[in-house]
């Protein structure tokens, strides 16, 4: 009986190809949208996680001031070299401590200029940030000690100022300082927050303090933690230590901040997941609308085929047999919609993932789920019209024109 109902349904769908297609369009779009959202969302999450781990998940960033509103920091006393040394000396399980200070600046070379930021660092910056040079060399000890006018460029700065020219050995101007290029960093691309990580110039910390900033402040201390040690514990120890050093009373809030990159990674991945879920929910609404479309057409179909139903009932079809016939038709329709939607979604996901430069992460779970859901839509929205058909009075139905 089920097999017969299936054949009947297929014949009925073939009979009205255009209408059937328009009927299932809602399901097609709904299924495709849900799958695309989940697939791209999965890709984005994977990318975030990967980028953060390339930054080093065992990295702590210590900054003065407290985060207030989005992106704003309250004013507070900056760190100095003594803080860096104190952390290095007093906190165990610290692999490296890299001080840094930065300010926005315009770099000029020949007739080109480029707005970027200049960072005073020392050689510990490279291992801590998990970053290496594409060309040239790191700073020498004497350059660091003397605060020589040398710099290492990020890939973006190199490209904007030098293009295809050789940059090593060239002298570029930062404010009034003439600065020799001794190296170029490997490209890291965009960060998860969307900023260009390669848009920076590095120079010896002492040179930056003396000749650019004119003070001895340190704006950022990056701390890398030994593998297998809880970053959470190290973070707590640094916080306790800095509170003492900065004379913060027990009832006062910290006037500095220790950011755990692992925490940030989790937070960002969480945000992406929430966004994905939200978008998928919106897409799921279109699935629902598609289901209502199917119900509408099935109701029309029942009215159109009242006479046929009357004939079937007169010949001896049971209520449940007529019900099954129309239910199967609705389910076959919506399942077709689901299958087409899946095919469409996979194609679109591959294409969009490529376009948005995120990895294509195939998620078989959501494909199966979307298909089941589309079939369920057929059952739910097909039931009402099917019941209407099955309960027709055979005499009335036969009289129907």
């Amino acid at each position: 009986m089920l097999w017969n109902a299936l054949l009947l349904a297929l014949r009925e769908i073939r009979r009205n190809v255009l209408r059937s297609f328009l009927t299932i369009l809602g399901i097609v779009i709904g299924v495709a949208a849900v799958i695309v959202m989940v697939t791209l969302g999965g890709g984005a999450t994977a990318q975030v996680t990967e980028q953060i781990s390339s930054l080093g998940t065992n990295l702590l960033m210590v900054r003065p001031g407290q985060r207030m509103a989005f992106g704003q920091m309250s004013a507070a006393k900056q760190f100095d070299m003594a803080d860096v040394e104190a952390i290095e000396r007093h906190i165990s399980s610290v692999l490296a401590v890299a001080p840094a200070s930065s300010s926005p600046i315009t770099a000029v070379y020949g007739n080109r200029n480029w707005s970027t930021s200049v960072n005073g660092v020392d050689n510990r910056y490279f291992p801590v940030r998990n970053w290496s040079l594409a060309k040239g060399r790191e700073f020498t000890d004497s350059e660091l000690r003397a605060g020589s006018s040398v710099c290492i460029l990020g890939e973006t700065v190199r490209r904007e100022l030098f293009g295809s020219q050789d940059s090593l050995g060239a002298k570029l101007r930062l404010k009034k300082l003439s600065c020799e290029v001794i190296g170029v960093l490997e490209s890291k691309g965009q960060s998860t927050m969307g900023s260009d990580q390669d848009d920076l110039v590095l120079m010896p910390l002492r040179a930056f303090q003396r000749r650019i900033a004119g003070n001895r402040d340190i704006g950022l201390i990056q701390v890398s933690v030994r593998d297998g040690v809880s970053t959470e514990q190290v973070k707590q120890k640094i916080e306790e230590h800095l509170r003492i050093r900065r004379h913060i009373a027990a009832n006062e809030d910290d006037d500095f901040q220790v950011l755990d990159m692992k925490e940030i990674a989790q937070m960002l991945a969480g945000t992406t997941q929430v966004l994905t879920a939200l978008l998928s929910a919106v897409a799921a609404v279109s699935l629902l609308v598609g289901g209502i479309g199917i119900m509408n057409i099935m109701l029309v179909s029942v009215t159109e085929r009242t006479r046929e139903i009357g004939i079937r009932l007169a010949i001896g079809a049971l209520e449940r047999e007529v019900l099954l016939q129309f239910l199967v038709e609705a389910v076959v329709l919506s399942s077709f919609g689901g299958l087409i939607g899946i095919a469409l979604a996979l194609g679109a996901s591959v294409l969009l993932a490529d376009l948005m430069q995120i990895p294509f992460v195939f998620n078989p779970g959501i494909v199966v789920l979307a298909f089941m859901f589309s079939a369920a839509v057929g059952v739910i929205f097909g039931y009402f019209p099917a019941r209407k058909a099955a309960r027709l009075d055979p005499i009335e139905a036969l009289r129907h024109e």
Partner: protein, 240 residues
């Protein structure tokens, strides 16, 4: 059932004081006002009467498509009024065949598939279904037309497909509601001769509603309805 059934056995069809009322209150319309009718197996009964005399209502009740408001309808001794909707459907499926004035074939469906339809609901396997349907189409003189859809057939041919559909299950009773109403005289004669053959040779009881005396003349018994009551009930050869 054979004609020589023992007399104690109940008749194939027994109506006793059957009434049918449509609507209620002041708008109530009494379509049948106490019908008593016995039809023996193998008979060929024509039900005649003017429009609104209740003959179609009576046929719907006999065909188990409708139930009486009061009174008793026994089919082979079974009280039909006590059956559920699905039980009546089963009864139609196994014992009854229908031929309608408007043919009532499925559109855009081949003659063969139309004839196979009742077998499908009986769960007959596909090969057997084809065989029986072809045989039935052959019996109504339509071999070679199996693949044609109703739209490609003449009225007479469509009615013959409908008859093939009704007799393919070898029913006990065939109910015909104005089977020749939409056909010209020559086609009507063909259809009536076909019905007569099935009645005589296969022993299928036929109950036919018609308002044409020419067609009623093919029957062995003529029941005349007036105002929801049996006015006269004559066997062929008897006169009013």
């Amino acid at each position: 059932m054979p004609d020589s059934a023992p007399p104690l056995k109940p008749a194939l069809i027994e109506l006793a004081a059957v009434t049918k009322v449509y609507g209620s209150g002041e708008a109530a319309m009494q379509a049948l006002r106490g019908i008593d009718l016995r039809i023996e197996a193998g008979d060929f009964v024509a039900v005649m009467g003017p429009s609104g005399s209740g003959k179609s209502t009576c046929l719907n009740i006999l065909g188990c498509l409708d139930t009486p408001s009061a009174g008793s309808y026994r089919f082979e001794g079974v009280e039909v009024g006590a059956l559920t909707r699905d039980q009546r459907a089963e009864l139609r499926r196994h014992y009854l065949g229908f031929v309608f004035q408007g043919f009532n074939l499925l559109n855009r469906t081949s003659a063969l598939e139309n004839v196979e339809l009742p077998l499908l609901y009986r769960g007959v396997p596909v090969a057997e279904r084809h065989r029986l349907a072809r045989r039935a189409l052959d019996a109504v003189g339509l071999s070679g037309w199996e693949g044609h859809t109703p739209g490609e057939l003449s009225g007479g041919q469509q009615q013959r497909v409908a008859i093939a559909r009704a007799i393919v299950t070898e029913p006990d009773v065939l109910f015909a509601d104005e089977p020749t109403g939409n056909l010209d005289t020559a086609r009507s004669k063909e259809i009536m001769e076909l019905l007569t053959v099935f009645n005589r040779e296969q022993g299928i009881t036929i109950v036919m509603v018609t308002h044409e005396a020419d067609m009623a003349a093919y029957a062995r018994r003529i029941v005349r309805f007036v105002d929801g009551q049996v006015d006269s009930d004559l066997r062929a050869g008897e006169s009013t």
